[in-house]
Symmetry: C2
């Protein structure tokens, strides 16, 4: 074994994403510090994904390596959690095989995006959802989502300025569900481009609320970010699961 | 009509309760300022209850009086909400009869108390629940709750030092429900003493987790706060409804 695999949940509101950045609060830096404080050793942490500032995670996967003491996988989460702030929790730990890499071993990821489809914010859920006042036709939203499922070049749904050149990805499923005022999008793919989920949700939400938009097929074919809709706010997005 | 009745939801985390206090952030002061900014007039606000620092509300009722402009009850919430911070929302408004008083007209209130019954905090729900590691036997918790239902002198379940002399209240219902790791208490009464819900929940949770405790009937009969359990933390408590 090369170390431990941690499954982590965090509320991203007060962090500039996962990845360590100088002078900024990040989940990686906070977790690294907590592990060092609880285990008394310096460790190296590798995450399954960068997440953007303000994005949340329920099933984030990280690999811990270094001169680790002999500690059971059952005790490790509890030990680390005592040193973590209230917005990050280690949910479980496991032993990592030699060839495991949180990012390169991943076969896919699932994200959830929450919308409060109301003119009135919900103060309880506000950190985790986008308040969107125009009524979303969820049946129509699902038709639009369906057009994005499959293997496509998603260049039009990638943040402008991103330097990635291979922009083909395969979406396994993408759907929307209404629960009272809440509309929840769920999407899984073998990988995602920068801001891809947020641009897809921004596009589908506005189109399904009756706003003028180019047909999804034409947006895809154009490979031009300018034809897609707005980037939905970070706070509605949660990295829900990573598939291995 | 004497003014407007507002139904308000707020996340209490960053407030020292409802009631205006000098130099401290309170929901009443924040709402008063937002109303003045949106309507351009000074108003008087009367709440249905004081709530403690950190306690939340989903159905708080407040009366607005003063030199109010002519505005429909449909438009009023939206006008005020544009000036409110994200942790307070006016859910709806109605016209108030001359004899309505948010506190004295109330026939009862319902509170909800949320416990995360786990050794691991949920970062998403942490602002709204008490993380309690020992397993709670919910069936037994319900038996204990049942012994508190009815008309009793609840002096033993009132914060020590409280100056109220009439400590008899009638609990209409009090029960616990498990939802996975979550245990949710729901209680309604004609009125509540200071910290009463939090002391009842602290007592029942510990007793139902197997901690040594005097029988509920004996605690009630003793009229002595020292015999009840701990006061559960404020953050798990939500004022859910007010009955008129």
């Amino acid at each position: 074994m090369q170390g431990y695999i941690l499954k982590i949940a965090y509320k991203g509101t007060n962090y500039c994403g996962w990845q360590v950045q100088p002078e900024k609060p990040t989940v990686q830096a906070t977790l690294q510090k907590a592990i060092t404080e609880s285990l008394g050793v310096a460790v190296c942490l590798t995450g399954c994904s960068r997440t953007d500032s303000g994005v949340h995670a329920k099933g984030f996967v990280a690999l811990v390596t270094g001169e680790l003491p002999d500690i059971s996988k059952e005790s490790l989460p509890l030990a680390i959690n005592t040193k973590l702030p209230e917005d990050i929790s280690v949910l479980e730990a496991d032993y990592a095989d030699e060839d495991f890499h949180p990012r390169y071993s991943a076969k896919g990821k699932e994200y959830i995006y929450k919308i409060r489809n109301s003119r009135i914010r919900d103060p309880f859920e506000n950190d985790f959802e986008w308040t969107f006042p125009k009524h979303i036709d969820v049946e129509y939203a699902n038709e639009l989502c369906q057009e994005l499922v499959g293997r496509h070049d998603f260049k039009a749904f990638m943040a402008a300025g991103s330097k990635i050149t291979d922009t083909v990805r395969e979406i396994k499923y993408f759907n929307a569900e209404r629960n009272g005022d809440e509309v929840i999008f769920r999407v899984a793919a073998d990988g995602f481009l920068y801001n891809m989920v947020r641009i897809m949700v921004g596009t589908v939400a506005h189109a399904a609320a009756g706003d003028k938009m180019m047909p999804i097929r034409d947006i895809l074919a154009s490979l031009d970010r300018a034809n897609a809709g707005i980037t939905a706010p970070a706070k509605g997005l949660t990295l829900n699961r990573v598939f291995y």
